[in-house]
C-alpha cells in the first residue's frame, strides 16, 4: 500500500456505494479519508434511533432524514472538497440501469437483504464492473470480491432464501416459539387489525375435524354495540380455547405429538382480576407508535418473561387499547416492529399459544427481535469490515488480481486467526446467473399453472423482478407497467392456465427462456414432466435443479442445513449452519489458498459454523397430515 500509482488510481476512481447504514457509514468515512474523491451512494432508508449505536455519522436530530444525504454532509465536514453524490432511492429503481453502473470503476455493497444483493450482482455482471460484497452480524463479518469471468459471482454459491413454514405447522402443530410468533403476527394480528380482504389461514383445519361451529369469520367481526372488553375476552377464548379443542378432536394429528392444552380465560384470570384491569389512561401518549399497555400493568422490563396470566392481561389490554385509541388504524395495519402496542400484542399472543403447546415463553425483547427480523449489530465489526473493503477496493482499482481476497472476520480464532483470508473461487460453471447453463424444472405440466412458475420459481427462486417468459420463440408472459390493456389481459389469462394448455404448450422436453431486462439476465429452463411429487419433501410440487455446484453429497452432517452455502455468508440473520469447504471436494476445480492451514477439513468446518440461534436448530420441518401442502406461509426471516 501507499505507492504513487496507488494514490493516482484512488484519486481518479469513481466508486458506487450501495447502502449507507452500518457498513455504509464506516465505509464512506474510510474511503474519504483514504483519498477517494468521487463517491456515489444509494440508500432508500431514513434514520432511526436504533441506528445510532453504530451509524456514527448520524445524530438524534437526524432521525427521519435520508441516510445517504446525512452521511454525505457529515463526511464533507472532515474531508471537504470531494464529490459525494447521494441518492435517496431504491437501488432496484429502473434509473439504476446497466448504463448507470457502467460509469463506475467498482461497486461496494453494504446491504442488509438478499434481494437487493442479487439485483446488484446481476447489474454488475451485465455492466462488467467489479463488485465488493460484504455483510456483518454481531461479531461476524465477511468481505468478498466478484469479478466477472475471473471469480465467482455473488450467486455462484446458492444463498439461502428467506425461510418459510408450512401452513399446518403455523395453524395447527407449532413446535417452536417462532411458529407461535408467525401465527400471532401473520395470522391473528393480521386478522384482527389488518386488511380484511386478505386471505387468512387462521382457521384452516384438517379435513377430519368436525365443523360443528358456525363460520369463524363471524367471531372476528365486532358488532357496533359490542363492548370492547367483551369482544377481547371472546376472541381470547376462541383462539386459545375453542380452536385448540377443535384441533384436539382430530386424533391422527396428535398420535405422535404432544397434545396442546386449551387455554380459557376463566382458568387463567379469575374474574376479580379482570375487573381490576383497566387504568389505560395512565399510558396516554400523543404518538400512536409509543402507546403501550405495559406500564399500566406494572410490567416495565422488556427483558422479563411474563407468565401466562401476565401475557393474558397484556393481550386483553392491548386489544382493548387498539379498539379504543386506534380504531382508525384497524383494517389497515401491518405489523411494524417499532409499533410498541403491536409488539406487545404479538408477544402476548405468541406466548399464550406457546404455553398451550408446551413451548417455552419468551420476553418482549426476544419476541420483537424474532417478529421484526432484527439483526443484532455493533460498531466494531462494521469498522473492521469497512477497512477490509477499502483494502480490496484499492487492489481492484489496480487490477491486482493475484492478491484479491475474501476475508472472514471470526468471533473465535481459527489457527490463531481472527481475520482469515481466502483466495476467491473460480466461477461456477453451472451458475445460471453468470454462465449460460440451463436449469432443469421438474413439474406436472398438466396441473401446474403458469402463475405458480412465475411466482414461486421465477420471482422467488431466481430473484427476477420483471420477467419476460418465452416458450421457444413465443412470448407467453411479460411483467410490466407499460403494457397495453389487451396484451396485459392476454397474459393474465395465461397465468391461470396449466402449462400444457398454454398457447405455446409447455410440456416435457420444451424449454422456457426467462429474461429480466433490468438485470440483463437471461436464463433457460428445461422442462421435465413428472406426475407425482412427495407432499412432504416437495410441497411446491416443483423441483428446480442444476444451479448448485456439482455433487456435494456428504457435506454438512448437520442440523439439516439445506443450503449448499459453503461459508458463513452473512446476508440476513443467519441460522445455525455447519459449512464445508468446497475445495476439498473431489471433482471441483476450485482453488483454496494455502493461507488456510489445512489441518483437514474438520477444523475449518467447525470454525466456519455460524453460532446458531437457540430457537432454530432445525431447518424446515414438514409434518404429517398437512391439509394444504401447497400453501406456505412466508415469513421474511432468517
Amino acid at each position: 500500500m501507499g505507492s504513487d500509482s496507488e494514490a493516482e488510481a484512488i484519486k481518479r476512481a469513481k466508486v458506487l456505494m450501495v447502502g449507507a447504514g452500518g457498513i455504509g457509514c464506516e465505509l464512506l468515512k474510510t474511503l474519504a479519508l483514504s483519498g477517494f474523491q468521487d463517491i456515489h451512494i444509494i440508500d432508500m432508508d431514513t434514520i432511526e434511533v436504533s441506528n445510532l449505536n453504530r451509524q456514527f455519522l448520524f445524530r438524534q436530530k437526524h432521525v427521519g432524514q435520508s441516510k445517504a444525504k446525512v452521511a454525505r454532509d457529515a463526511v464533507l465536514k472532515f474531508v471537504p472538497h470531494i464529490n459525494i453524490t447521494p441518492y435517496h432511492a431504491n437501488v432496484k429503481d429502473p434509473d439504476f440501469n446497466v448504463d448507470f453502473f457502467k460509469q463506475f470503476n467498482v461497486v461496494l455493497n453494504g446491504l442488509d437483504n438478499l434481494d437487493a444483493r442479487r439485483h446488484v450482482n446481476r447489474l454488475c455482471l451485465a455492466a462488467e464492473v467489479p463488485l465488493v460484497e460484504s455483510g456483518t452480524t454481531g461479531f461476524l463479518g465477511q468481505v468478498t470480491v466478484h469479478i466477472k469471468g475471473r471469480t465467482e459471482c455473488y450467486e455462484c454459491q446458492q444463498k439461502p432464501t428467506p425461510k418459510t413454514y408450512p401452513v399446518c405447522t403455523i395453524t395447527s402443530t407449532p413446535s417452536k416459539f417462532i411458529h407461535c410468533v408467525v401465527w400471532a403476527k401473520d395470522l391473528l394480528f393480521a386478522k384482527l387489525f389488518g386488511d380484511k380482504s386478505q386471505e387468512n389461514d387462521l382457521f384452516v383445519r384438517s379435513s377430519d375435524a368436525s365443523d360443528l361451529e358456525k363460520p369463524m369469520e363471524d367471531i372476528f367481526e365486532r358488532g357496533p354495540d359490542e363492548d370492547p372488553d367483551q369482544y377481547g375476552k371472546k376472541i381470547y377464548d376462541h383462539v386459545f380455547g375453542y380452536n385448540i379443542e377443535a384441533a384436539l378432536a382430530n386424533e391422527e394429528t396428535w398420535k405422535s405429538r404432544r397434545r396442546p392444552r386449551p387455554t380459557f380465560l376463566r382458568d387463567v384470570l379469575p374474574e376479580k382480576l379482570i375487573l381490576q384491569n383497566g387504568n389505560l389512561e395512565k399510558s396516554c401518549l400523543t404518538d400512536d407508535l409509543s402507546l403501550s399497555v405495559m406500564p399500566s400493568l406494572g410490567l416495565n422490563n422488556p427483558q422479563e418473561v411474563w407468565n401466562l396470566a401476565e401475557n393474558s392481561r397484556v393481550f386483553l389490554e392491548a386489544l382493548q387499547l387498539f379498539i379504543e385509541k386506534r380504531e382508525k388504524d384497524i383494517g389497515s395495519l401491518t405489523f411494524d416492529k417499532d409499533d410498541q402496542m403491536a409488539v406487545e400484542f404479538v408477544t402476548a399472543a405468541a406466548n399464550i399459544r406457546a404455553s398451550s403447546f408446551g413451548i417455552p415463553l419468551h420476553s418482549l425483547f426476544d419476541t420483537k427481535g424474532i417478529a421484526g427480523n432484527i439483526v443484532h449489530a455493533v460498531a466494531t465489526t462494521n469498522a473492521i469490515i469497512a477497512g477490509l473493503i477499502v483494502i480490496e477496493t484499492i487492489k481492484v482499482l489496480q487490477a491486482d488480481f493475484e492478491n484479491y481476497r475474501m476475508t472472514y472476520c471470526l468471533e473465535h480464532p481459527s489457527s490463531k486467526m481472527l481475520l482469515m483470508p481466502v483466495e476467491p473461487f473460480e466461477p461456477n460453471k453451472s451458475c445460471y446467473v453468470c454462465s449460460e447453463t440451463p436449469l432443469l424444472l421438474e413439474v406436472n405440466t398438466r396441473n401446474t399453472t403458469l402463475r405458480d412458475i412465475v411466482e414461486k420459481i421465477i420471482k422467488v427462486k431466481l430473484g427476477m423482478n420483471q420477467p419476460m417468459v418465452m416458450q421457444g420463440t413465443t412470448l407467453i408472459y411479460e411483467d410490466g407497467d407499460d403494457l397495453e390493456e389487451d396484451v396485459a389481459a392476454n397474459y393474465a389469462l395465461n397465468l391461470d392456465k396449466n402449462l400444457a394448455d398454454l398457447p405455446a404448450p409447455v410440456t416435457g422436453g420444451t424449454m422456457l427462456t426467462i429474461e429480466d431486462f433490468r438485470q440483463e439476465l437471461k436464463c433457460h429452463i428445461n422442462i421435465k414432466h413428472r406426475d407425482d411429487f412427495d407432499e412432504e419433501k416437495e410441497p411446491d410440487r416443483m423441483v428446480l435443479s442444476g444451479w448448485t455446484a456439482p455433487e456435494k453429497v456428504d457435506t454438512a452432517k448437520s442440523n439439516g442445513a439445506s443450503t449448499s452455502a459453503d461459508r458463513p455468508i452473512i446476508t440476513e440473520v443467519t441460522e445455525s449452519k455447519v459449512v464445508d469447504v468446497a475445495a476439498a471436494m473431489p471433482g471441483t476445480k476450485r482453488k483454496l489458498s494455502a493461507t488456510l492451514e489445512r489441518k483437514g477439513n474438520q477444523e475449518v468446518h467447525e470454525v466456519l459454523s455460524v453460532p446458531g440461534n437457540d430457537d432454530d436448530d432445525d431447518d424446515l420441518v414438514l409434518l404429517d397430515d398437512c391439509p394444504e401442502p401447497n400453501k406456505k406461509l412466508r415469513l421474511q426471516h432468517l
Binding site: 468515512k29 436504533s50 455493533v378 466494531t380 481472527l418
Partner: protein, 318 residues
Amino acid sequence: MDREELTAQETALYDRQIRVWGVDAQKRLSKASILVSGLNGTSIEFCKNIVLAGVGDLTVMDDRLVTEDTLQANFLIPRDSDAYGGRSLSEVCCESLRDFNPMVRVSAEKGDLSQSEMEFFDKFDAIVVSCCSLNAKVAINEKCRKRAKRIAFYAIECRDACGEIFVDLQNYTYAQKRSDGTVERHLSYPSLEEAISTPWRNLPRKMSKLYFALRVIERFELSEGRTPGKLSSSDFPSILKLRKELCDAQSLNESHVPEKLFERILHAGSKLHPPICAILGGILGQEVIKAISGKGDPLKNFFYFDTADGKGVIEDIS
C-alpha cells in the same frame, strides 16, 4: 446517579448491541471508565467505537497541537483551521467524540501519562496507549499493575499497512460459555516488559515477523531518541545494523526478520492508512468491550494485522 436498570433511552439506543452481548454487559459498560493516551488515526477509531458502545466515561490525553500532519486519517477534526488552530488534539477530538453519544462523558486531560500520579490511574478500568515510546509504554504498564484495582492495559501501534495490539489483563477470570455449559476460565497475562523479554529463540518458528520488526524499531527509536513513528528510509542501514545486533544477542538468524518488512515500514514514515486504522481500532474496541463486560474470550496477548497477507493473527508471547 446510580441506577440499576438501563433507562428507556439507553434501551432504545443500544437495542441492537444488547442483542449481541446482553443487558448485564451493557450495564457494566455504562459504569466503565476508559483512558486513551496518544491520539492518532488508530486510537481515535477505538475512541469512536468505545463511545458508541456506551461506556460511562472516556478521558483522552494528547497535548500535541493540531497541525496539518495530525489531520491525516482523522475524522474527528473538522477541516477548519479557525476551529482547530492553536488547540490540542485532545481538546478538539474530545468535542467531536461527545457528539457520537451524548450519554458518555468525554473529557480531555492535560499532561503526559507516563509522568502522572499513581492515584490518577485509579480512576480507570482500562488504559489504551498509542504514539508512545517503549519506555513510556513499559512505565505506564507497570503503574497499571501496581494498583490495587486491576487496570486493563492496551498498547496499539500502526506502521505502514500493518499494526500491533498488546493486551495485559493481569489475572483475569471470566465465565466462558461453551456448548457443554459454562466454564470458569483463568488467564494470567505477563506484563509488557516480561512479554518482550521472552527470548526470541523460545518463540514458535511460525510466529508473526511483525513482532520482531517492531521490537527492533522500538529499540531504535529509544536509543536514538526519536519520536515514535517518525522514521524514514534513510534510517534503513542503521535499522539493519540494529537488527543484526539484536538477532545475534538472541542467537537468531537475522534473515528471520525480513529486510522487506523494514523497508516498507520505514518508507511509509509517519503515514497512516485509514483502512488499517479502522481494522485495528475495531479489534481493540472489541477487546476492551470484552474485558469490561467480562463476556467473551479476550485475546492473549498480541494481535497482528498485515495487509500483505491479509491475516489478523493472535500470538501468545509469555
